[in-house]
């Protein structure tokens, strides 16, 4: 077992493309860390550098105390699960699992025992003599896991191991992998583009964008305290609503003007004072919006355009007379198809004034209907503020 340290690591390809830029982080011994980000963000490259499949252009990677920059993969004592499983098609399940042991000249009897133990852990004890093509997708995935487990390595590396499974199986395997990792306590780096996987599985999550680390934190912290607009829009589903707001002084406090509406801002944000008279990006999570009851704090007025009933709750898509923030980092963070569709509507303007579509998470009992005008209450304690130019969160 060992910690993994990225010490100002960069990866530049021959054509000048910089896949990873100055990555600096430490994965603790026994920790489950998820690298997440949209495709092309450098997460897989970072993982492959730990494995020894990519050369490191600058900086150092250490596993335990040892610098591994020039160590071939087989001397790093890591095991990797590939997206396409990379099973050896001509070998049986037992041979697949046992291949690494054979390479390490583990005595036959011991190898046999370890293979059988592993097969029990992954639930394939009855399938040891099958070839990969005789297995289902989920079973193949488990063989790939078994191949990693049997090694008893210091580090597990997983490259989108669940992306080839269907949705139901994915949820099940998510729990399964977490369970196995907790039981074996092996340092694990897990790569995915799926923020739900990242949030549910990782002890800590590293969010990457265009090769640059955006934030490295526990999942809840990422959700509650996103460091910038990109992380804010990438983490959470439905995504955070981001609107343009103008900060103004109002007596001894600050207000944010959003279109025709005005929100009184909490006093606990002294840094905001510096933005008085300027525009910022204001983020509201869908659960920060609710149907207005009498007398509560801030309100936003709009027209309901669509309602999605999800059983325990409803998602109301409400059109506000406000300007949406469509900066690149926001768009890149919005990954769901559904949200991409909304984006098209976000761009629309009516009567020359901009409109923004926001999503509110409402109670199942809510009676809102499309085309109805509503007032939404805003939970002022859960607002997020970002600098429009840098995208960085405006501190407390």
């Amino acid at each position: 077992m060992a910690a993994i340290t990225f010490d100002h690591v960069s990866k530049t390809y021959g054509d000048g493309f910089r896949a990873v830029a100055d990555l600096d982080l430490e994965v603790h011994d026994g920790e489950f860390v998820v690298f997440v980000g949209p495709s092309g963000c450098g997460k897989t490259t970072a993982l492959r550098m730990i494995a020894g499949l990519e050369e490191i252009s600058e900086g150092e990677i250490r596993i335990g105390e040892r610098v591994v920059n020039n160590l071939p993969p087989r001397d790093r004592d890591v095991a990797m699960v590939f997206q396409n499983y990379a099973l050896y098609p001509h070998m049986t399940v037992a041979e697949n699992i046992g291949f690494a042991l054979r390479m390490r000249k583990v005595p036959k009897a011991e190898a046999r025992k370890r293979i059988e133990d592993t097969a029990r852990i992954i639930g394939l004890a009855d399938h040891l003599d099958r070839k990969p093509r005789q297995l289902s997708g989920g079973q193949r995935q488990r063989v790939a896991m078994g191949r990693a487990i049997v090694r008893e390595p210091r580090v597990f590396l997983m490259d989108e191991p669940l992306s080839n499974l269907d949705a139901k199986l994915r949820v099940q395997m998510r729990a399964e992998i977490s369970r196995i990792q907790r039981r074996l306590r092996v340092t694990t780096v897990y790569v995915t583009h799926d923020q739900v996987e990242a949030m549910t599985m990782g002890d800590r999550v590293a969010v990457l964008r265009r090769g640059v680390l955006q934030q490295f934190d526990a999942p809840q912290r990422l959700y509650e305290r996103p460091a910038n607009l990109f992380v804010a829009s990438f983490i959470g589903s439905p995504a955070m609503n981001v609107l343009e707001a103008t900060i103004e002084r109002n007596g001894d406090g600050l207000v944010g003007r959003i279109g025709a509406d005005t929100l009184r801002l909490p006093d606990a944000r002294p840094a905001l004072a510096g933005y008085a008279g300027r525009k910022i990006a204001l983020g509201i999570r869908p659960e920060g919006l609710d149907e207005a009851a009498a007398g509560s704090g801030g309100r936003l007025r709009g027209v309901v355009r669509a309602v999605e009933a999800l059983g325990p709750e409803q998602l109301a898509h409400v059109e506000l007379e406000a300007a949406p923030v469509l900066a690149e980092d926001v768009l890149e963070g919005l990954v769901d198809l559904e949200e991409a569709r909304d984006l098209a509507e976000l761009r629309t303007e009516r009567d020359g004034s901009p409109r923004a579509l926001v999503v509110a998470r409402l109670d199942a009992s809510s009676a809102v209907r499309p085309e109805q005008t509503v007032e939404l209450s805003v939970d002022l304690g859960r607002l997020h503020f970002f600098d429009l130019e840098t995208g960085a969160s405006i501190g407390e």
């Binding site: 494995a51 087989r74 095991a79 590939f82 990379a86 050896y88 690494a100």
Partner: protein, 296 residues
């Protein structure tokens, strides 16, 4: 496909549909007829060859078309065995063909793997050379190869007959393309598992490349079994005659009177059997042109 069926006039539509069906049936019959006729042209000569090899010389000359030898005799085959060095030729052909085939499969796959997957300086140049070599027509090489074989003291030896035939740029090319089609993660997985480069080649990649290896095997076997020109220029002693060379000499008529077609055709038939067997064994692989590539 009755897209033309007009709603208001079902009867005409039905009638035209029926006539279309009849036309299709007639078309089908015609194409079967054409196919059968051509097939006869392609197959008949081989039937004639087999039948004639059981005839006597006068019978073959007088009734070349007859499919019933009268009298039927295995005389031609016995003569091949007794008067000619047929078994010697067979032995030489077998030695050369098997050596060439197995060595080619091995060397082509080694080189193909290096060119497809191993990173080293000069790889591009090496590949370009091999491709360029592929373009040199074989007949141009007869004299050059003879000169080199003699220069190296390999003339009139098995070495001279076998080693130059190991040049197989096309085979290297096929293997390289195949290896490139294997998902690289399988090899990366093996690297992480602790396998050396040769081990990855031998235990992982080679077993996965069976379709391509079979292709090389077929091409090499057929090519070297049927090779004639190279054996003419690489050896002269009759002890090193292969089937092609021996039978070719038989055909050019150094054996006295008559044209002795039954004897020559018997030899032809016998020498065709191994490639024919190979062909029928791997027929599906050879013929199934669309799925010849990888499928995992």
């Amino acid at each position: 496909m009755s897209s033309a069926t007009a709603a208001g006039r079902p009867s005409t539509a039905l009638r035209s549909e029926a006539s279309a069906a009849r036309r299709r049936r007639v078309g089908k019959l015609v194409s079967y007829g054409v196919l059968a006729a051509i097939a006869i042209i392609y197959v008949f000569p081989f039937v004639i060859a087999v039948v004639t090899s059981f005839k006597t010389d006068p019978d073959a000359t007088q009734n070349p078309l007859s499919l019933a030898p009268s009298p039927a005799t295995t005389g031609a085959f016995r003569q091949l065995y007794q008067d000619q060095d047929f078994l010697l030729w067979l032995k030489n052909s077998a030695i050369v063909t098997l050596s060439v085939t197995f060595l080619r499969v091995f060397l082509d796959s080694l080189a193909g793997y290096a060119l497809a997957r191993l990173r080293f300086r000069g790889r591009g140049a090496a590949f370009a050379t091999i491709v360029a070599v592929m373009a040199v027509p074989g007949v141009v090489l007869l004299i050059p190869k003879f000169l080199m074989i003699r220069q190296l003291g390999m003339y009139d030896t098995y070495y001279g007959m076998i080693i130059p035939l190991l040049v197989d740029a096309a085979g290297v090319f096929i293997m390289k393309n195949f290896f490139e089609s294997i998902p690289i993660s399988v090899e990366e997985s093996a690297r992480i598992d602790g396998a050396s480069i040769f081990r990855i080649y031998w235990s992982i990649v080679l077993p996965m490349a069976r379709p391509a290896l079979v292709t090389i095997f077929i091409l090499s076997f057929q090519g070297s079994w049927n090779e004639l020109a190279h054996f003419i220029i690489s050896a002269q002693s009759s002890g090193l005659n292969t089937l092609t060379k021996g039978v070719a000499q038989l055909a050019s008529g150094q054996l006295g009177v008559g044209n002795r077609y039954p004897l020559k055709l018997a030899a032809s038939v016998l020498m065709t059997i191994p490639v024919a067997v190979l062909f029928f064994v791997f027929q599906r692989r050879i013929m199934n042109v669309s799925s010849g590539a990888v499928k995992e």
